[in-house]
Amino acid sequence: MKSAAAVDLRVDLGGIALRNPVLLASGTCGYGAELAPFLDLRQLGGFVAKSLTLEPRSGNPPPRIAEAPSALLNAISLENVGVEAFLREKLPAVPEGVVVLASVFETETQRYVEVCKRLSGAPRVAGIEINASCPHVKSGGIEFGQSPRVLRELVRATRRATSGPLLVKLSPNVTDIGELARVCEGEGADALSLINSVQALEVDVETRRPVLSNGLGGLSGPAIRPIALRMVWQAARAVSLPLCGIGGIGSAEDAIKFLLCGASAVQVGTASYLDPAVAGQVAEGLAGWCQRHGVARVADLVGRLELGR
């Protein structure tokens, strides 16, 4: 029997060389150091840090989270330390050898551009992921990622703001994910991450009010995995960009489903709340699965979903 090391787990995600396809999703791993007591981040392909805004933001009042069937509903909003404190304090605390992607979240295109400019060229930032699920103030609260016109403007502007790898994290709250993926490809994005959380509502029947202070929230966890697989598969058919699959991933088998649907890499999110070391197990499990199935390179699984019976 060959050792697990014999499996080639390396993948390329839009110009970012990853030692394996498993990353941590933005907003679920802080700025990296929070998971250090439980997980050696060098076991992973990398992590996407909590979304950054130009200025520090303190987020929504509680309640911010609620449990739903096999899922978590959250409305944390923009809470983050701001891009300057990230570069000054958080980034230097990340151990050497860990691939860090920065995530950007803003309310206006020009503000996204400003944050991207500050991150661009920072020595430890391997790439920038544009979080397109933020409400677009000028469009009355519609998400940037919901309008092809607004998304085009955002990707065009942020593309000019950085010469490094640029990922766009797509909103699932759309009719045609393929159209939005093509917009990003046309504007020069290097890769796409999908899906962000699914817009949702939970109700307290006693108070007759939404459970979350914000009213609406984003649903994540195993419940959204089949939705995410469907959207990754649709996006893979629409564009030739590398994709990073996100949505309810908690095991190597989950990750392989995304690879088969066309993702080159995956992000583990909500599952880290249940077990902060789970992403390391996903990466290890991928090697074991490939070995047991005679797959020499994990990249060979990408897009190999068999259709037809």
Partner: protein, 275 residues
Amino acid sequence: MTQPPPTPAPLRLEARVLASRNEGGPQHRLVLGVPGWRGFGPGQFAMLSPGARASVPRSDPLLPRPMAIYRARARGGAAEVEILYKVCGRGTALLAEALPGQRVGFVGPLGRAFPAPAPGERALLLGGGTGIASLYELAARLAPAAPVTVLFGARSAADLMGTEDFAALAVELRIATEDGSRGARGLATALLEAALAEGGPACVYACGPTPMMRRAAELARARGSRCLVSLENHMACGFGVCLGCAAPRAGGGFALVCRDGPMFEAGALAWEGLA
């Protein structure tokens, strides 16, 4: 201001259920075998996932539950960690069904621990309902060296938990129930008001319903005494990444109960914003 004591780095493992006992009504005591235990600070908590990694993985309910660590007894390289809790929903009901030998996901100890009182301060421990579970270890550690008064309130005698454990410590235990079925009739805060009036400066340690803790903070302040509270909140992770357990700070903005607490100086919180 006394700083919270240093605490060991948290463990993440599957603990083995050594015992799971009903202690009357909805009250349960869980004893977990935790290998590699390095101790904990009084008032720290753990995230428990019943059946998360059992033979059939469970995704619903999805999230682990934050639980105060009641006490821990070292047994060689491992420890018996006790959790005292009340079944109040699906997560705790699942936990109550766990059988000896089964595994429970365990991440902990987490959060900031209670500091010892300053020299010359009396220790007044105020527990409301299940909040008493956060105070046992503190009582046990302080009692040999200094006088400790434990003030314990609940709705009725059936809602009191762990009273025999406290009675076995060298502490003074005063009980109040709202229906008068045991101890004084009334609220725990009435016990606190009386205890504060009995002597010099005190350090009040309070854990229980928010209105109880808020009143405790007012009573302590009026007497020039310090008040430390231990908050409960819904949490998805317990270690500072989900940002779900926000509590409003007195100066604006939010603290995280898991990372900045659960122990807070009462004056550091904006009480009107706490649920």
